[in-house]
Symmetry: C2
Subunit: 371 residues, 2 copies
Amino acid sequence: MTSRQPRPRQRDIAKMAGVSQATVSLVLNGKPGAVGLAAETVSRVHEAARELGYVADPIAMRLAGRQNFLLGVHTFSAAFPVDIENSYYPFLAGVEQQAATRGYDLVLFTGAAPSGDHPARADAVHRLRLADGCILFGRTVPVAEIARLLDDDYPLVYIGRRDELGARLPFVGADYTDASRQVVEHLAGLGHERILYVREPDDALASDDREKGVKLGLANAGLTERAPTVVRSEGSDLTPAWVRRQVETGVTAFVAETTDVSAAARALTRAIAGAGLRYPSDVSLALLGEYVVPPVDEPVFTGFAVPRREMGRAAADLLIDLLIGASVPPVRRQALMDCEFVPGETAGPPPATHAGIQTRTKTKARRGQDA
Amino acid sequence: MTSRQPRPRQRDIAKMAGVSQATVSLVLNGKPGAVGLAAETVSRVHEAARELGYVADPIAMRLAGRQNFLLGVHTFSAAFPVDIENSYYPFLAGVEQQAATRGYDLVLFTGAAPSGDHPARADAVHRLRLADGCILFGRTVPVAEIARLLDDDYPLVYIGRRDELGARLPFVGADYTDASRQVVEHLAGLGHERILYVREPDDALASDDREKGVKLGLANAGLTERAPTVVRSEGSDLTPAWVRRQVETGVTAFVAETTDVSAAARALTRAIAGAGLRYPSDVSLALLGEYVVPPVDEPVFTGFAVPRREMGRAAADLLIDLLIGASVPPVRRQALMDCEFVPGETAGPPPATHAGIQTRTKTKARRGQDA
DNA sequence: TTGTAGGCGTTATCAG
DNA sequence: CTGATAACGCCTACAA
């Protein structure tokens, strides 16, 4: 019950050392030599500070410093990436790492819809401003909101390529187009002629980029589009029966995009298993991306690895550079990072039944791998 | 090169609405009715605030003694739980979830040592004060630092049981003692008489609790300690040869604690595999805990599940209740949550060679499960 | 009903 | 070399 004495302030030190508060601040902030203080004074101050157990109040320091050394992190997607299955998590890990090494803390904006009183604060985005700058990600983007922040020169970096705001929005993206092209050319190189791309139903830029890459790959491989090569689905209609039907019409390889939760890809994976088809003897499957947490008992999927952690690191690094006003060349302001091709075990030459030369497409030589 | 415009302040709103800054504060803090402001004035202020995208500066809020709806998260262990392999991650997930539903955002204190001059300042904990309250975790605890915060009535909640600070430090822990007891009694029930507990070398409370449970379990099963039952190791000496030696001297079951990284447990797992022993025919292994990310190609380990996510949720909930001054009964201020026993596949009856009745220990009837 | 003034703990400036 | 003095953004008497 004894009323505890409050933490010592600079003024307390000043009193004890018989100097002014300003002197205390000077001494404690390290550049006493530059200013030229009496060694005797300096030591008296240090002594008093030690004796009182003085610790600077971080809150006041930041108020005075006009920076709070907080980096915001926010996603516009439904849930925050707190789920291990969620592919956003590695981004967070990368951001955290780089923020730490540069002396910043992170604010995770939960996008909270507080129950009760305030029904889902409409001003959620504004809260971001409480950090010095913010890192955003998520497949869909509320353009107006972001434009507003940019108008106010609020420092923002998006993880993932964005074109809705032209050159205004800095980002660190992954080169999905080129990676997808590579994957498709790999399949074509194995001898596949009918390749089906299963993408999510929404119009996310990441999906469009992949589709572009798929078509580029098909074209490069000389595979003309005789039948639809793209299917949009959120997963529920990707049944074993559907898979069998596709295979019967000549499809020998599927290509599915992975996303934050990879609904379509996971559904397709299950459907193929449900249809009793094996990789790669019965059918080939390549992911345009990879599973962060692979389904159990599954092989390593052919696809590509998105350098999420590195992207997170790069994004934090970029944001901080923008914050401190460092000069940032355009190529770094809007960066695309390469994805590494993953050979995996789910893609091989098409089954013999379908491998016959039944079309005139100038398929490249079958440099198929051993099955 | 253009200097960024600062975020809007109350004075900006005041200017735009043609009122004083104090009025803005009054209006924005909700009690305009009580004071009796003109409805017209109130709406003008709100309008201006919305237009400017005003958000109260969290730092200034705290300086002025108000709350900023930020919950801190900090760990004293080496790295922040950004690593998926790290068992701390689920805590974060739970905290995030509960914080979101109650309208708080999270500050991840990265524990950064700002590059250059000060190499890892000892007063880093004080940064935490920036948030309204803070959730802590980690095996080791800088008691002095925490006591300091508690002295200042800074709201803290530890995830994990702590006794260094008596009743002062609220926590949400897991009942390792009881869970460990259960595991050992399960092994004893299977017929094991020589059980060896492998624990980490440090004196973490979590390890002590487990050890207590192990000994309790042994005692309950009537297994007197004829030989050392506890081995401390950080892993490097847990070789296949060592395992073989233990088995030759009669050990039929190992019990290993898992931690944030589970160094000892993972080493033991590898050593047993390296010794060519199979579960549970050659040897039994039970974890005092579980692997967050299990080693590949391994069976489901016998052990118990720490309800990490729930603990995280409970911790956030508790902290917020403390923050808002809700009444919190002692049993919730220092809570222990039950861990669920996981039968797993790595524990079975001891091999016949060792199962003979060669001692006089009054072993309970062998109610062993089917192998 | 609104504005003025003082305080929270720092940092920074500028005469003396 | 030092000691006032003024920010920093906000809250809260108290005065008008």
